[in-house]
Symmetry: C3
Subunit: 273 residues, 3 copies
C-alpha cells in the first residue's frame, strides 16, 4: 500500500518546495497565526483576507482556498460564499473546516449554505462535526439519531464523500480519509495534539497547502493529515519532560518545518480500511 | 488559613479534570490564542464565538462566560450584553475583564453598560482598571480623584465587591480578591509575567474555568488567580537564562499544563488581609 | 559611520526604557500577538484598538500610531484614516505597513487613500510592496512596469521618501532606509526570519516603538529595523538544530527581550549606500 502512494506524496512535497503555493485563508482569529506558520513551515505561502471587497481578487491569486468557520460572523459568512464561488469558477481547490458545526444554528446553517453553494475539494472535521453534517443530509436529522454502533466512521466518510463529491477527512485517534470510493486510515499522531488549541485547524491548512499543488486531492488530503500526525509524534519524542504543552507546541512547529519524505516513508502508518 | 481553603481548591481542580467545562469567550483578537491554550492546559474546553446570531445559543452550552473588552467594537459590544443576559437567565457564571477601562469613553461606557445589564460572578482587572470602575460608582469620578494613600486596594476590592455583588480580583505584585465580606491576598507570581502580553487575560480565563465548575465563585476566583501566580514562579525557575521573555512564555504554558494541587499546597502564599 | 549614529541609538533605547512609550496599533489579527509581545519585549507598551468610536481618543494617549493593513476591512479602513488624521493633528508619529499592497485593488486603494490623507513618519514594506506604491505615484503604473535593472532599491527608497516626505524602509536580505536625502543599508538578519510569519509586521512595530520616543524618525527607523536583524542573528545562533522554525521564533522573542546597545555596537552592519 505504501509503495503505491509514496510517489504521489513525494511529488506533492516537491511541488510545494518548488512553487510555494499561495494559500488564501478565510479563518478564525483564534488559531490564525498557527495556520499561517504551519503553511509557511511546510514550504507554502499563507495569506489571510476576508473583506468582501477583496476576497474574489485574492482567491484569484491563490492556489487553494481554506475556509474555517471557527469565529464566523455575518460579514465573513458572505465572504466564505463569495470566495468559494470564485474559487469554483477558477477551478481552484476549496477546503472547508466546519468548526463547531452542530453546536449552534448559525454554524449549522452556514456550513449547509456553503455545501449548497460551493463545491469543496476537501472537508475536514472531527467525528462530532462530520457526524453533524452527515446527519443533516436530506432529512436534516440531529446528530444523535445516528447509531454509532451500526454506522462507524468508515461508512460516514465514504458516504459523505460520495454525497458531497469531495474528499472527507475525519481526524481523531485514527484519521479516516475517503474520496467516496476508497477509505484510508492513518494511525499516526499523539494524544498531546488534543492539548494544544488549533491542531485541527492547522491540519486543515496543511491539507489546503497540499491540494494547492493541484495534484490528486485524495492523495493531498492524506498527505496533509499525515504530516500533522507525524509531526505530533516527532514533537512528543523531542519533549524533555512529557507533560509540557507549551514546549510541545513549539516542537510541533519545528517538526513541521523539518518534515521530509524520508520521515514519512519510515514512520507513516497508512492502510486501506 | 490554607487548611480551610485547600479542600475547595482540590474539589474545583478535580471537577475541571472530570467535566472539562466548556468556557465560552467573547474576547479580544490579541491574546485570544493564549486564553484558549490556557483553558485547555488546565483541563477545560475553550470556545470562542462572538456573532449576535449565535452567542446566546453558545453560552447555553457553556459552563461559564468570559467577556474581555480588549478589542471591543460596536458588534461585539452588543454580543457582550446579549450573551451576558442569557448567561444570567441560565444561572451560568459570567467573568468580566475590563481591559483598558478608563482609557477611552467607549471602554468606560461599555463596561458601565455591562455592569448595569449583566450580573457578574467575578470582575478581574489591574489596579488602574478597578480604580476606574470604582471611581465611576454613583459620582462618576475620574481615576485620579481617588486618594491612594487613604483608599488602598483592600478597601476598593471589598467595597466594589459589595456594590457589584460579585467577587472582585485586582491582580498585581500582590493579588487582592474579595467577595465583599472577606479579602485575601495572594503573594505568588513573578515580575516576568508583566513582560508577556495577555497574562492578565489568561488569568481571567483561568478564573472563568474555575467558576465554570459551579463551585463557590470566591474560591474559584482565588484558585484561578493563584494558578497563574504559581505558574509564573515555576516558569521563571525553569528558565536557563533569566531574561528570556519568549522562553518564559512557553514555560508558563508548560507550568499551567502540569499544575497540581500538590504544587499549590506546597507553594501558594495566600492570607486573609 | 557607526560612531555618528550610535549616540542616537543609545538615546532612543534609553528613552524607551525610561518612558515605556504607548504604541497604538490598528493591525491585522494574524500577527497582532507577536506585534504586542515585540513592543513589550523591547520595553514599550502596546495597545490595540480599532473601533471608530475610540481610535481618536486612544491615539491621543499614545506616543506613536502603527497602522498595518494585513487583514483590513471596511470598518478598519475608516479607522486607519480617522486615527491617522488625529495623530497628524497631535504631532504623533504614524508608521504604516502596507501589507499586500498591489495584490488587490482594495489594498492598493486603501494605501493610496492613507497616503493622501495621512502624513506618515515611516513607511515600511518589502520590495514588492514598496515598488507597488512607488509605481502608483502620479502615473498609477503597475508594478511590472518598473525596470529593476535600472531602478534599484536605493533609488526607489530615496525618491519615495522624498515624494512622501517620510522615511522609507525596504526590508529584505539587505534592508534599505532612506529619509529622502541619505540612504543606509543594514546587512543584519537571517534567512530564518522569512520562515516565521509576521517578522515584517514585528519590524514595523519595533520602528513604531522607536519613533514613539519622538527622536529623529530616520534614526528611529534604522534602529527599529536593525533590532530585528540583530535579534534574528542571535536567535539563529541560539538554535540547537538549525532547521527549527518554532524554536527560532521563541529565541527571536528572547533576543528582542535581551537587546542591548552593546550588542548593537558590536554586531550591527550599517553603511551609507
Amino acid at each position: 500500500m505504501r509503495l503505491v502512494l509514496f510517489p504521489y506524496f513525494r511529488e506533492i512535497f516537491e511541488t510545494i518546495k518548488k512553487d510555494k503555493p499561495l494559500i488564501h485563508h478565510i479563518t478564525n482569529y483564534v488559531t490564525v497565526n498557527d495556520c499561517a506558520n504551519t503553511v509557511l513551515a511546510l514550504g507554502g505561502s499563507p495569506v489571510m483576507a476576508d473583506d468582501l471587497a477583496e476576497v474574489e481578487e485574492m482567491v484569484s491569486l491563490a492556489s487553494a482556498l481554506v475556509m474555517n468557520v471557527g469565529t464566523l460572523n455575518q460579514r465573513t459568512i458572505e465572504a466564505f460564499v463569495l470566495a468559494g464561488k470564485k474559487a469554483n469558477a477558477l477551478g481552484t481547490p476549496v477546503v472547508l473546516d466546519p468548526v463547531g458545526v452542530g453546536a449552534t444554528a448559525l454554524r449549522t446553517q452556514t456550513v449547509q449554505r456553503i455545501l449548497e453553494e460551493v463545491q469543496l475539494s476537501v472537508l475536514r472535521g472531527n467525528m462530532s462535526e462530520i457526524k453533524s453534517i452527515y446527519g443533516q443530509g436530506g432529512k436534516t436529522r440531529g446528530v444523535d439519531s445516528i447509531d454509532d454502533s451500526l454506522m462507524g466512521g468508515r461508512e460516514i466518510a465514504l458516504e459523505l464523500a460520495k454525497r458531497l463529491n469531495c474528499v472527507v477527512v475525519i481526524t481523531g485517534a485514527t484519521d479516516i480519509v475517503s474520496d467516496g470510493e476508497q477509505v484510508f486510515y492513518i494511525e499516526n499522531g499523539h494524544e498531546m495534539l488534543s492539548r494544544v488549541t488549533g491542531t485541527g485547524c492547522m491540519t486543515t491548512s496543511l491539507i489546503g497547502l497540499c491540494v494547492g499543488t493541484k495534484k490528486n486531492p485524495f492523495h493531498a488530503a492524506i498527505m496533509g493529515t499525515a504530516v500533522m500526525g507525524l509531526a505530533g509524534e516527532k514533537a512528543y519524542e523531542a519533549l524533555p519532560h512529557k507533560e509540557e504543552v507549551g514546549t510541545f507546541r513549539v516542537k510541533l512547529m519545528d517538526a513541521i518545518g523539518s518534515f521530509s519524505i524520508t520521515l514519512m516513508e519510515e514512520s507513516v502508518k497508512i492502510h486501506e480500511a
